[in-house]
């Protein structure tokens, strides 16, 4: 497991060695904060919370996490560096974890760069710091779960466009699963039994994340995000094993 460190370092700094990091961070900040201001009526809601920022993250992540994750393995396959990486004394698990953690750290950085919002709120009102921290924790865990999916899908192909499109589709479905329109469709139109609808909708990101926004840190939700990411990474290792 000691080999994770150099791989993590290379991958994380890799974002900043090309314009990818800067373009990603700037556009993500504009989109996420823009949603909070213009769609979430950050000011007129007149509450000292980040709820209007967090609410839109599950939707924004559908596009942005695949954008950060699509290169993880596709790029290695396309440029042939995968042959270099897997002839270094590194196990597949170490490589998968190192790259995943680097991309996750990058996404966490993108989230934390919204800190001026926090400062603004602290200046204008007296926020509940616990709720805010729980929102950030939930966002980071959710980003990890999205990223697990993206890391897996990017290992299937050397084409980054295919990797991106499939990742977006899977993430979109995972958000939709908990949407009432979708569950009504399953329960009503397809007449599935209630317990099955519950099982399916339980795989949605949104209900698990909504608890965090409200300031509820339920171990169940933490386990959900971590185990989803873990399961995807497990499959990722299987895909990459020679």
């Amino acid at each position: 497991m000691t080999q994770i460190a150099p791989i993590f370092k290379r991958e994380f700094l890799g974002y900043f060695r090309s314009p990818v990091a800067y373009v990603f961070l700037i556009v993500f900040l504009m989109a996420s904060v823009g949603c909070a201001f213009f769609l979430g009526s950050f000011f007129s809601a007149n509450s000292a919370s980040l709820e209007s920022y967090f609410t839109f993250l599950p939707w924004l992540f559908i596009a942005f996490v695949p954008a950060a994750g699509m290169r993880l393995w596709s790029e290695e396959r396309r440029s042939g560096t995968i042959e270099l990486l897997f002839t270094l004394p590194v196990t597949t698990l170490e490589a998968v974890l190192g790259k995943f953690l680097a991309a996750w750290a990058f996404l966490c950085l993108a989230l934390l760069l919204s800190f001026p919002l926090v400062l603004t709120i602290a200046y204008l009102g007296s926020p509940d710091w616990g709720v805010m921290a729980s929102g950030y924790l939930g966002s980071m865990l959710m980003a990890g779960a999205y990223l697990g999916v993206c890391s897996l899908t990017s290992s299937f192909t050397k084409n980054q466009v295919i990797s991106f499109v499939i990742s977006v589709f899977v993430c979109f479905v995972l958000v939709l699963l908990g949407w009432s329109v979708f569950t009504d469709f399953l329960g009503g139109y397809l007449a599935l039994p209630g317990w099955l609808v519950d099982v399916v909708s339980n795989f949605s990101f949104k209900p698990h994340f909504d608890a965090f926004i409200k300031g509820i840190i339920d171990p169940k939700d933490i386990v959900f995000f971590l185990s989803l990411a873990g399961f995807c990474l497990f499959l990722n290792v299987l895909v990459l094993e020679p």
Binding site: R17, S79, E83, L84, F86, T91
Partner: protein, 240 residues
């Protein structure tokens, strides 16, 4: 150092490598010859642990590549075909990364190993340039430097002189010959003169099978003093 026994690799219905066996000892420079698609690269990828053999075994320094891939990878320096490297990194950053994964974590030994191969492969003038901006010749040398970084007992070089100009080719051959005494070297090539220039042994592979395993001199003697390219053509003609 390297023992290959009955190596087979299937891609679906296609058998790319079909029962290849040979051994390479310390001090050997084995030239791996064959037409394109004969299975040279596939065999090398199995020796380095990148591909899993369908059947057969590879032992490197006594370690089985399927059972102990990491132990094998520690002992092997590998230059893949076309010398892939992370394009956005500079030469120094890239070699630093390789040094870290090779276990040189502290700054001093890492720097020492990087400096050694930068000197050995004449990368000084481009050390702070990103790899994507390098010419083919420099890229190839970066790949070579990466393979030599941990001074491995086994070197596997897939077309090491590809894309180099005649002076650089000469330099790389000199380097290989210089190091060969303490190492086991396998190199694949299309260039038959290269085999005469540096190899102590030749294996010609055709349609996934070994058709010749001999010294360059022995090979010529058996074919009545014919030139190497004539021998190569007679033995592999069925492929074209």
């Amino acid at each position: 150092m390297i023992e290959v026994k009955g190596l087979v690799k299937d891609y679906g219905a296609l058998r790319a490598v079909d029962g290849v066996s040979f051994t390479v000892r310390r001090g050997d420079i084995l030239g791996f010859l064959g037409p394109n698609g004969a299975g040279k690269s596939t065999t090398m990828k199995m020796i380095t642990g990148f591909l899993r053999p369908t059947a057969g075994t590879v032992l490197v320094g006594g370690h089985d590549v399927t059972a102990e891939p990491v132990a094998v990878k520690r002992q092997v320096g590998y230059l893949p075909e076309n010398a892939p490297a992370y394009p956005e990194m500079t030469v120094e950053e890239f070699l630093g990364f390789i040094a870290e994964t090779r276990g040189y974590r502290a700054a001093a030994p890492r720097q020492e190993h990087v400096e050694r191969v930068i000197g050995l492969c004449h990368l000084g003038p481009v050390r702070r340039q990103s790899i994507e901006t390098l010419s083919k010749g420099f890229k190839q040398r970066v790949g070579f430097a990466q393979a030599l970084l941990h001074d491995p007992p086994v070197l596997v070089l897939d077309e090491p002189t590809d894309g180099l100009d005649p002076n650089q080719k000469h330099e790389v051959r000199r380097l290989i010959r210089q190091m060969a005494a303490e190492k086991a070297v396998i190199l694949s090539t299309h260039i038959l003169e290269e085999v005469d220039a540096i190899c102590t042994r030749v294996i010609i592979i055709s349609r996934g099978q070994v058709v010749v395993d001999n010294t360059p001199e022995g090979l010529r003697a058996r074919h009545g003093g014919a030139r190497l390219d004539e021998i190569f053509r007679t033995l592999t003609q069925t492929d074209t």
